[in-house]
């Protein structure tokens, strides 16, 4: 058997895997009856439906031709995810200003044409704008500087 539609194949597999995982977890919750449904009822029903749809996709991928999955490049995604996680860590420990700076400077490298000087300048501009807009004007509860600073 040859996979003729890789996108259908992989998405079908993902849908089945996720559905099975949800259903496995849902068996821990009371299923109940049709009249008095427990918290496990709806997830299992939806899970069955989703797994079924996934199976159709999977089966179809051996019959119908489809486009291949375009080769992705890992850096943009990886750098973006890392930058966002760093934003979270920095926001927790160092406050908003540092968090934005880290996010911008690291995140900028998700693009190949990033230049350090430029992204530093952008970081300064965005820190300034965000503090003025979100903290001063809108009064959102954001800590701008680390606690030991002030």
């Amino acid at each position: 058997m040859r996979i003729r539609s890789p996108k259908d194949f992989w998405s079908g597999l993902c849908f089945i895997a996720i559905a099975v995982a949800f259903m496995a977890l849902a068996t821990r919750y009371r299923f109940g009856t049709a009249e008095k449904m427990g918290p496990g009822f709806f997830p299992i029903m939806v899970g069955i439906l989703q797994a079924g749809l996934g199976a159709i996709l999977l089966g179809r991928s051996f019959v119908l031709d489809g486009p291949p999955v375009e080769r992705g490049r890992l850096p943009p995604l990886a750098i973006t995810v890392v930058a966002v996680v760093l934003f979270g860590l920095a926001l927790d420990w160092l406050g908003l200003a540092a968090a934005i700076a880290v996010l911008v400077v690291v995140g900028a490298y998700a693009d190949r044409s990033a230049r350090l000087v430029e992204s530093l300048a952008l970081a300064v501009a965005l820190v300034f704008f965000s503090v003025v807009m979100f903290v001063w004007i809108l009064g959102l509860p954001l800590r701008v500087w680390p606690d030991w600073w002030t």
Binding site: G38, Q50, L53, V69, T80, V84, V85, L140
Partner: protein, 499 residues
């Protein structure tokens, strides 16, 4: 006469100086971000959501609505000038709009788009005022069974327009439903699928999902395939269309508005379907259809009127039934819940000032867009030149701050990071995120109504077919599915969506 007094109430709310300012700010910000290439209305609304957190419900919704149609308008500007549609509903505008710009008629193209949108907005506002109250009244009589069937119908109808495979779209709805079940189950108090994480007890953040799928994952996709820079047209010329232009496009605007208003009400309709249908229709009725695609002003006037009318009337199911017909409306529902308002038919009776104020503000907002945007076109054009490498880190910043400020929880930021990866994977596999968002928003409501309906019927599932309205919805859903699955219609749908 109730209509007039309602609209009067709405106007008195919308004309309050505070609401007027928020409406203006919303339109302005929406256009500003909407013009930026590569940012659609969903991402715009999601990113600007934190701007409304400090406000009361009425000004917050007025501002969000302003952001929405501002973004929509901004999308048309990019479509005409750069040939990159800011969003799917302005795809057709690029056909004739960009041709006009190439012929040195960018000004009139932008002008007619604004005038058409304004005219359509005025009429669509009246349509909402006329149709929303009876619909809400009807919806108040719905029992859980009807509600459940309505949601099934709404979800099925909404995926009709998802691009690509229907089965994938359905599976994405299911995935959305499953993700929506994470967190505390309202009926039993059991915390489901939380892996012992207390942060997940409230469920996945709606804003995090919307931003990850429509903002961050989109950016990552764009970064992977660089080099999509359009042809800039710096020469705009006179913005005001000539009298001749107006004469040519008058009936196109009327037809576009009518089609848009009707299609917008249907779940799954909204702006996208409206603009496509209006363009096709215009081509059919035109005496010289060959001129379409070569810079015919009617090819701009009709879809632009239609998408604005459709965008506006898609508020009807959202406001009266609490059912989102597209991802933007799902965001609006999310915003309402953040403000502590349960969307549904009771909004109109419980909070008339919110309901009518919002509707009246749409009319004012359209007027603002008209007076604001025509003179400011020069500024928007300059925005188009902002390079993407400066733009995308800014998108990151707004998404991260936005996600964090919903609940001031750091956990939500990590959630955003994880969901970005998931969203990227799904888009890579050609799974559109829109059906997932709709499923996610409707999931908890669907489950609750299903449970209640079955409880009332003592476990007899035939209740969904024995009640006429409920059966009607389900039959409509089945017919719709059958219709799309039928080969001829399927080919047609693909053709329409491809074009």
């Amino acid at each position: 006469m109730e209509l007039l007094s309602n609209l009067g109430l709405g106007l008195s709310v919308a004309l309050g100086w505070q609401n007027l300012i928020y409406c203006f700010v919303g339109c302005f910000l929406g256009t500003l971000v909407g013009v930026l290439p590569g940012i659609g209305p969903v991402a715009t609304v999601a990113m600007l959501l934190p701007f409304t957190f400090g406000l009361g419900p009425t000004p917050a919704l007025i501002m969000l609505a302003g952001i929405y149609y501002g973004a929509q308008y901004g999308g048309s500007t990019t479509a005409i000038l750069v040939n990159i549609p800011g969003e799917s509903s302005s795809v057709v505008t690029t056909l004739d709009g960009h041709q006009m710009a190439r012929q040195g008629r960018a000004g009139p193209a932008l002008g007619i788009a604004a005038i058409g949108s304004f005219a359509a907005g005025c009429i669509a506002t009246l349509v909402i005022a006329l149709f929303a109250p009876p619909l809400a009244e009807l919806a108040l009589k719905f029992s859980p069974a009807e509600y459940f069937s309505l949601m099934v119908f709404g979800l099925v109808a909404a995926i009709v327009l998802a691009r690509g495979s229907l089965i994938k779209a359905l599976a994405m709805v299911c995935l959305g439903l499953l993700l929506g079940m994470i967190g505390t189950d309202v009926n039993s108090g059991v915390i489901r699928f939380a892996f012992g994480q207390p942060e997940l007890a409230d469920g996945l953040g709606f804003v995090a999902i919307a931003m990850a799928f429509f903002g961050m994952a989109d950016v990552v996709m764009n970064l992977e395939q660089p080099g999509q820079s359009g042809v800039y047209t710096s020469h705009i010329g006179r913005v005001l269309p000539t009298l001749d232009d107006l004469k040519t496009s008058f009936w196109s605007i009327v037809r576009g508005t009518a089609l848009g208003s009707i299609l917008g009400i249907l779940p799954g309709g909204g702006a996208l379907l409206a603009s496509f249908a209006a363009y096709m229709f215009e081509k059919k009725v035109a005496k010289h259809p060959r001129r379409f695609g070569e810079g015919d002003i009617r090819g701009v006037a009709a879809p632009e009127s239609a998408n604005n009318a459709g965008a506006q009337t898609s508020f009807i199911p959202m406001l009266t039934l609490g059912i989102p017909s597209n991802p933007t409306m799902a965001l609006m529902i999310g915003a309402m819940m953040i403000q502590g308002i349960a969307p549904g038919p009771q909004v109109m009776t419980d909070r008339p000032e919110l309901f009518w104020g919002l509707i009246a503000s749409m009319w004012l907002g359209n007027l603002m867009l008209l007076v604001l945007n025509l003179p400011l076109v020069g500024l928007w054009v300059r925005l188009l030149k902002v390079p993407y490498r400066l733009l995308f880190p800014s998108i990151f910043v707004f998404c991260c701050i936005g996600v964090y400020t919903v609940d001031t929880k750091i956990f939500d930021v990590y959630e955003l990071a994880a969901l970005t990866a998931v969203g990227y994977l799904l888009i890579k596999l050609d799974c559109e995120p829109a059906p997932l968002i709709l499923g996610f928003v409707l999931g908890p409501l669907m489950e609750e109504n299903l449970r209640r309906a079955m409880m009332i019927a003592q476990g007899d599932a035939s209740v969904f077919f024995s009640r006429p309205i409920s059966a009607g919805f389900l039959i409509a859903a089945v017919l719709l599915m059958a219709a799309i699955a039928a080969p001829t219609l399927r080919a047609k749908r693909e053709e329409v969506l491809q074009e």
